[in-house]
């Protein structure tokens, strides 16, 4: 194993470019799931499993509000960061994390009350696939925020921290947009 000092590679802008490219390919995977969902739903003869009326939309709507406001708080946190206001950054950052955690809690409550499972036909499969895959992203986002928060307390890491904050908040907005599309597909478009 050789450790060579790589001169220009640690250029800060690369990381963000790479991350944006990563998000582009992530959006393709969601697009694939969404178009698959639409195709299956319009083509299916029996969409809902027997005994299931449809999806309850109140908890998810509350979750939507929570997630959208967390996009606002993370924006505020980022602004504090760029102004050098570390305390404000930490406060809004923590608030965003709390909202994210609340979203996950709401999701868990919803899953717990459902009358169908992963294997209840194509309806159950697509529902759990979409919400599960998105939920995984929310959890990842909260985890990344935790990491950045810890990093903000280590002075020598703080310089590079700004970039991580930028990337994390980009990711968070992305997860938010995905959720809005998902909400429309799953809960608003109930009748085909």
């Amino acid at each position: 194993m050789t450790a060579t000092p790589h001169l220009n590679t640690e250029h800060p802008k690369h990381n963000l470019t790479g991350f944006i490219i990563f998000l582009c390919s992530e959006s393709v995977i969601f697009l694939a799931f969404f178009s698959g969902f639409a195709l299956l739903k319009t083509a299916a003869l029996n969409w809902l499993p027997p005994g299931v009326e449809g999806l309850e939309w109140r908890t998810p709507l509350l979750n939507t509000v929570v997630l959208i406001s967390s996009s606002g708080t993370i924006w505020l946190a980022e602004r504090c960061m760029s102004k050098g206001n570390l305390v404000g950054f930490r406060a809004f950052w923590l608030l965003t994390m709390a909202l994210g955690a609340y979203f996950l809690y709401g999701q868990a409550v919803e899953w717990g009350g459902l009358q169908f499972g992963f294997t209840s036909g194509v309806f159950g499969g697509t529902f759990y696939l979409l919400t599960g895959f998105h939920g995984l992203h929310v959890a990842t986002g909260v985890f990344l925020m935790g990491l950045m928060l810890v990093k903000s307390f280590i002075p020598q890491n703080y310089a590079g921290g700004e970039q991580g904050v930028q990337a994390t908040s980009l990711f968070w907005h992305f997860v938010d947009v995905i959720w809005i599309i998902l909400f429309v597909l799953l809960y608003v478009w109930q009748r085909s």
């Binding site: 001169l7 220009n8 390919s25 992530e26 299956l40 299916a44 499969g125």
Partner: protein
């Protein structure tokens, strides 16, 4: 920069051992990729020999029918996911940083992780030969419902391993693509605008963009397939409301563009090599660059041409037929650019040039049968026959693999520091060219006569052409011997290579052979002109003459 600090010193550690561990130097990773890929090429080739051995006589007498199904499935899968993509990523690792004057890839550690996933999923795939029930047998496209059956009921089964391996290969390729795209966008030498970039980098950028758009769809589709197979969901099962055709959309949305992921870098290789060995600038450089992205755009909207017999709507068939045919236009631009480059050039028929000429010939032939396949009535007639097998092997073996051989012979001296042997190279070329044509040409009449693919026995009326094809296949098998002999002996005791043995133009040829670990280090020269200034005498970079002098002096001293 001042030329006095040039050239950078050659690599300190050149021992064999560095190729066997976790290493973040793109040049080491490139060679790791290429050697690993050829290891799997030998396994895939062995399976091909078994296939053609079975098919040399009409009855199914060599292997059992289910074993045969497993063998062609694994042949296709290994050749695509364990040979051709890894070998291209190897070339990318070697060529992209050195061609653009970067010290390494943008994310060296990610790069190494992406490489190490290859042997891991390779082991999963090869390991599936040894699980109860044997390897996957549903073909490399793995359509449900065949691929969602698990007759023995074991949780670990060939099909499950297949899907896991393919999904992992997708993850590895996405990691690679992020790295290559970032590197090309962000780390070019001063003065190297997009229209001063070598065509290979353009085609790599185009191909890797396709990976980024296509692969997530396949990976998503594969995850759903695995759930159907292992956890009883019904995304693709009509009994549960699912739709098997959805899988075909996912699969071909990636796997059609995948052919451009394979062939675009080969177009790049042709565009690099024809100018060198014709001593002429690349004809229509700008058009060749732009054509790559037109191919990307069109390549993304043609996938349904693989599904003409799958019950898709008539308007869809027509749309996808015409979009497919349109691809002939940018592709034709490239072919004419190469012909224009060779035209009245001072051709040097070295091994790399021969492989390029042979590859171009085969590619043109494959293009013609490709247009035939795009026409709906012809496709319905020959789909699932040997015509298709013949067509794509002309593309993949005839053009792509031959282009890759050309690249290996051409850049071997640069990255290994020693010269390959011309005689062995020419022998390799001759056997490959004759073998490939003898192997794959007879598949076209076979297909037109109606011989189905994926069968281990056939009607005796097909015997004649099958014997020819099998002889060609064995010739191809033999052709690998001079290649391996050449690579190993040249690496061990070939003559030392000068920094620019082919008298080529490009940043990589302004480095010592082999290049130092961080390439130009802090002394990246400033690019002042377009590549391919052959015969014009125009320098590529500032202080070019001084740099070359230094390198030559250094070589004379050594």
């Amino acid at each position: 920069m001042t030329s006095a600090t040039f050239p950078p010193s050659p690599p300190e550690n050149t021992s064999w051992s560095r190729y066997f561990g976790f290493n973040t130097d793109a040049k080491v990773i490139g060679i790791q990729y290429i050697v690993t890929a050829f290891f799997f090429f030998l396994i895939g080739g062995l399976l091909a020999m078994i296939i053609r051995g079975e098919l040399i006589t009409p009855p199914a007498d060599l292997v059992d029918r289910t074993v045969y199904n497993g063998i062609y499935t694994m042949h296709g899968t290994i050749m695509l996911f364990l040979f051709i993509f890894p070998v291209l990523n190897g070339l990318n690792n070697l060529l992209i940083p050195t061609m653009i004057g970067a010290p390494d890839m943008a994310f060296p550690r990610l790069n190494a992780v992406a490489f190490w996933l290859v042997p891991i999923f390779g082991a999963l795939l090869i390991g599936s030969f040894f699980v109860p029930g044997g390897p996957a047998y549903s073909g490399w496209w793995s359509y449900p419902p065949v691929s969602t059956q698990n007759p023995l009921g074991h949780f670990i089964n060939g099909q499950g391993l297949w899907i896991t391996a393919v999904a992992l290969s997708g993850v590895s390729s996405i990691m690679g693509a992020i790295n290559f795209v970032t590197t090309i966008l962000r780390m070019r030498a001063p003065g190297m605008g997009f229209f001063r970039m070598p065509v290979y980098c353009w085609t790599a950028l185009a191909a890797q963009s396709l990976q980024l758009i296509g692969l997530p769809a396949l990976t998503g589709g594969a995850v759903m397939l695995l759930m159907d197979l292992s956890f009883g969901t019904s995304f693709y099962q009509p009994e549960g409301g699912g739709d098997p055709v959805l899988y075909q959309h996912f699969f071909w949305f990636y796997s059609h563009p995948a052919v451009y992921v394979i062939i675009l870098p080969v177009f790049g290789i042709f565009s690099e090599l024809f100018p060198v060995y014709s001593r002429k600038p690349l004809f229509g450089y700008v058009y060749v660059c732009l054509a790559s992205f037109i191919i990307v755009a069109l390549g993304l909207v043609v996938w349904v041409h693989h599904m003409f017999p799958s019950g898709v709507a008539q308007w869809m068939r027509n749309f996808f037929m015409f979009s497919t045919m349109l691809i002939a236009v940018p592709t034709g631009v490239k072919v004419f650019a190469w012909l224009g480059t060779i035209w009245r050039g001072k051709l040097r028929l070295t091994t790399p040039m021969l492989f390029c000429l042979g590859g171009l010939f085969n590619f043109v032939f494959a293009g013609i049968t490709g247009i035939m396949l795009a026409t709906v009535p012809v496709d319905i007639h020959v789909s699932n026959t040997y015509f298709v097998v013949g067509h794509f092997h002309y593309v993949i073996y005839g053009a792509a693999v031959m282009g890759i051989f050309a690249a290996i012979y051409h850049w071997f001296p640069k990255f290994i520091g020693r010269m390959p042997y011309e005689g062995l190279g020419k022998l390799h070329f001759l056997l490959t060219f004759i073998g490939a044509n003898l192997n794959f040409l007879p598949m076209h009449p076979l297909g037109l006569m109606g011989m189905p693919r994926r069968v281990s026995s056939y009607d005796p009326e097909f015997a004649f052409w099958n014997v020819l094809a099998s002889l060609g296949a064995f010739l191809l098998g033999v052709s690998i011997i001079p290649f391996l002999l050449n690579m190993v002996s040249a690496w061990v005791r070939g003559p030392k290579a000068p920094h620019n043995p082919w008298n080529a133009i490009g940043l990589e040829w302004l480095l010592p052979s082999p290049p130092p670990e961080d390439n130009f280090g802090e002394h990246v020269p400033t690019v002042i002109s377009r590549p391919y200034g052959y015969g014009t005498g125009e320098p590529l970079v500032e202080h070019q003459a001084e740099i070359e002098n230094q390198l030559t002096l250094e070589e004379a001293r050594a």
